[in-house]
């Protein structure tokens, strides 16, 4: 393509993007098509990738195609393998795409579609994509070192310690909140519970099939597993309509919580090949297929958004979670905009597969842009619902009341009309007994997704199947995070306790496996139990806590990145990571302050504890007060740790910039690639 033609194309993309963003930002009082969001997103990512990431690659990082990557220098056919860039891209995307970009945007939709959309676009282009890209590149230049190792070597022992604490905290809180989402999606739902219960024997069967009958045929096994899951969805309908069977799968939230805790412990202690690996494959298969289907469904049907651009709840009085637009929209949506967890993936498997340094741009920046698009699809799925329906599903009984009439009256009084009869009809259509008080985002997303799918295939007749397909997809997805996360957390605790008493660090010693599995499951199980027993639905306190810990990990990652950029002598470009870092510091420190000290008991942990203490004593009050104080203490510890790493990093930057310290870049020395003349893939 000639240069004028290229310029014309990019000008057209910029105009289309600007026009779409203006449309979603300025339209008030009338419904808009979801396609505006899609076009705005695609154009923003395209421009961000083409221009901003190219600038970072050339000026800030000076990517060098002639420098051998660890995949080349340390190639062993096992961990370090030179891999085609598209293959690494797919692998990386599959690893970073989790339930976060689906759940966070659905919860943040209580503010309207506009805040979430703008944050996802700006956050990804200037924050999340940049973080993933630079951390991936820095890990590649350090033989695939992990974030914790880089923090230790670049910032100091404190940096490594804080990164470790941030990672273990995020894992524990993430697992607790993920389990809570599954509990809220499956409580009193025999159909959903039956389907998910069946995925366990299906995974075991897949494990045996893969190991004994068709060794290594993972794709084939995953297709078979997927067909069995579809059968299980159909079987769920039968179970829910057969009272003698359905009663065994109609479970309360506490029962489901106990079952999940037992499952987590078993998954952590069982052989990987039997349950964890096949389930992981099945989940990935369903995940990739469903995301592709959802994207196609949205583009083909171009649904209308019924949620207004902004709702009255930007003032902080929202029923889904309490807290004002700033800072809570920005911690509620972490994955999809910027997620610290990605830095673990970008400094994990991916850097060991990169064939050329220049490919880190496409893999790091590009894959995050794709995940951000998934978050935009979640915004759309939530906002195609009538707002009254959205709030009826997502509002906890503690806010809108237990009875359908009370809930609908409260929601209608906010200006979002909905009736008990409408909700009953919707519950019937999706094959549930009720959709009230289904906090956590997953059921609302499932209803939205079923809504979109049922307009393309099967009409209303298949609404229930689509809803349970979506619930199965989310729950399977989340349970995979749960069992893999429990194992990763167990290893982290083993690594740490191994310094205290050597046998506890031995990963093959069964008592150590059992003790450490119990510790990690006990930790996230406590948060889960706390959420289940919380009259405000649990999500109100736990999701912001998860968002804060995730963003704090991103803060650690950006501190590491900024330190390295300054040490590289590129201080004039440090704004590339300093700007998102400053924003995250403002967001997370404000959110933490509000969560601990806000006088509104729905927002502040301590004021909620005081309110409970002042009220007449009821059963369980002391426990709720303890939980509030524990949450406040966890938030405070996290924020203090991150403040320490920030101060340590900033002091280091100042010393280097003032010439009082000699910067030492701890990169692996340059080795020229043997593939310099290889045709670029």
């Amino acid at each position: 393509m000639s240069k004028p033609a290229r310029v014309a194309v990019w000008v057209a993309v910029a105009i289309a993007g600007a026009f779409s963003v203006a449309t979603i930002a300025l339209h008030r009082g009338e419904e808009i098509s979801a396609m505006w969001l899609v076009v705005a997103a695609v154009c923003s990512y395209a421009i961000g990738y083409r221009f901003y990431s190219k600038f970072i690659a050339a000026r800030v990082l000076s990517l060098d195609a002639l420098r051998a990557t660890p995949a080349e220098r340390l190639e062993n056919g096992r961990d370090f393998v030179r891999t085609n860039k598209w293959v690494v891209f797919g692998h990386h995307f599959a690893a970073i795409a989790g339930p976060g970009p689906l759940v966070g945007p659905v919860l943040a939709a209580q503010f309207g579609y506009l805040p979430g959309t703008l944050w996802i676009l700006a956050g990804a282009v200037f924050g999340g994509c940049v973080q993933d890209f630079v951390i991936l590149l820095f890990s590649v230049r350090r033989d695939g070192k992990s974030l914790t190792e880089m923090a230790k070597s670049e910032i100091g022992r404190l940096g490594g310690f804080v990164a470790y604490v941030a990672v273990i905290s995020i894992v524990v809180i993430l697992l607790g909140v993920c389990a809570l989402i599954v509990v809220n999606a499956l409580k009193a739902s025999p159909w959903g519970t039956f389907t998910i219960a069946m995925t366990i024997p299906i995974a075991l069967l897949m494990g045996v099939y893969l190991r004994r009958m068709r060794p290594g045929k993972v794709l084939e096994t995953s297709v078979l597993g997927f067909l069995l899951v579809l059968l299980a969805i159909w079987g769920g309908s039968w179970a829910s309509h057969t009272p003698s069977v359905g009663k065994y799968f109609t479970l309360t939230a506490p029962t489901l919580a106990v079952l999940l805790i037992i499952y987590g412990f078993a998954a952590s202690a069982m052989p990987v090949w039997l349950l964890l690996a096949p389930r992981d494959y099945l989940s990935t298969f369903v995940k990739l297929g469903t995301i592709a289907m959802l994207a196609l469904g949205i583009v083909a049907l171009r649904p209308t958004l019924h949620m207004p651009a902004l709702t009255r709840f930007i003032d902080g009085t929202g029923p889904v979670f309490a807290g004002s637009l700033f800072p809570f929209a920005f911690v509620t949506i972490a994955c999809g905009a910027i997620s610290g967890f990605h830095s673990l993936i970008a400094s994990g498997t991916t850097p060991k597969l990169i064939a050329r340094e220049t490919e880190t741009r496409m893999v790091g920046y590009g894959a995050m842009a794709c995940e951000s698009l998934v978050a935009i699809m979640a915004v759309i799925a939530a906002c195609v619902l009538q707002p009254g329906t959205y709030f009826a599903i997502n509002s906890p009984a503690g806010v809108v009341g237990q009875l359908p009439e009370a809930a609908t009256a409260a929601i209608s009084s906010w200006g979002f009309p909905v009736s008990a009869a409408d909700m009953h009809a919707l519950a019937q259509a999706v094959g549930e007994q009720t959709l009230f008080n289904r906090t956590g985002g997953a059921p609302a997303f499932a209803v939205g997704m079923a809504n979109i799918f049922s307009h393309s295939i099967g009409g209303q007749a298949l609404m229930a199947i689509w809803y349970h397909f979506a619930i199965m997809f989310e729950a399977l997805f989340i349970l995979t995070v749960l069992d893999a996360g429990t194992r990763v957390g167990r290893f982290m605790i083993q690594d740490a306790l191994g310094h205290v008493w050597k046998p506890l660090g031995r990963t093959s010693w069964y008592p150590s496996i059992l003790i450490n599995s119990a510790l990690i499951v006990g930790a996230w199980g406590y948060f889960l139990w706390q959420g289940v027993k919380d009259p405000l639905g649990g999500i109100n306190s736990l999701w912001p806590l998860f968002g804060i810990s995730n963003q704090l990990l991103a803060t650690v990652a950006l501190c590491v990145a900024t330190t390295i950029i300054i040490k590289m002598g590129r201080a004039r470009y440090a704004a590339v990571t300093l700007t998102p870092l400053a924003w995250l510091v403002a967001v997370t420190f404000s959110a933490s302050y509000y969560k601990i000290f806000d006088p509104n008991p729905r927002v502040g942990f301590l004021s909620h504890a005081s309110q409970l203490a002042a009220a007449p004593t009821a059963a369980g009050t002391a426990h709720l007060i303890f939980n509030d104080r524990l949450d406040a203490a966890v938030t405070a510890i996290l924020i203090i740790m991150v403040a320490m790493i920030l101060i340590e990093s900033a002091a280091d930057w100042i010393r280097i910039l003032a010439g009082r310290k000699q910067p030492v870049v701890r990169e692996t020395p340059f080795v020229a690639t043997r593939f310099a003349t290889e045709e670029r893939a």
Binding site: T83, A95, R212, V218, N550
Partner: protein, 66 residues
């Protein structure tokens, strides 16, 4: 026109090949193939069990993102 059609067909074929390679990598089929090649083995339940044992540590410690 013929040239354009041929180019489209070729791009299409390449896209499917890459998609297949991506899926094989994501689902560890490529890793197993590399293992067989490295160890000069043919596929069998025993070889697969060995592959699983070898990659156990890496697989167990692989985080799944939120």
């Amino acid at each position: 026109m013929k040239n354009l059609l041929a180019r489209i067909c070729s791009s299409n074929r390449r896209a499917w090949t890459i998609l297949g390679a991506v899926l094989r990598e994501i689902f560890d089929e490529s890793a197993y193939a590399r293992f067989l090649e490295r160890r000069q083995l043919t596929t069998s339940p025993d070889a697969y069990a060995e592959f699983l044992a070898e990659s156990r540590q890496q697989r167990e410690r692989r985080p799944r993102c939120c």
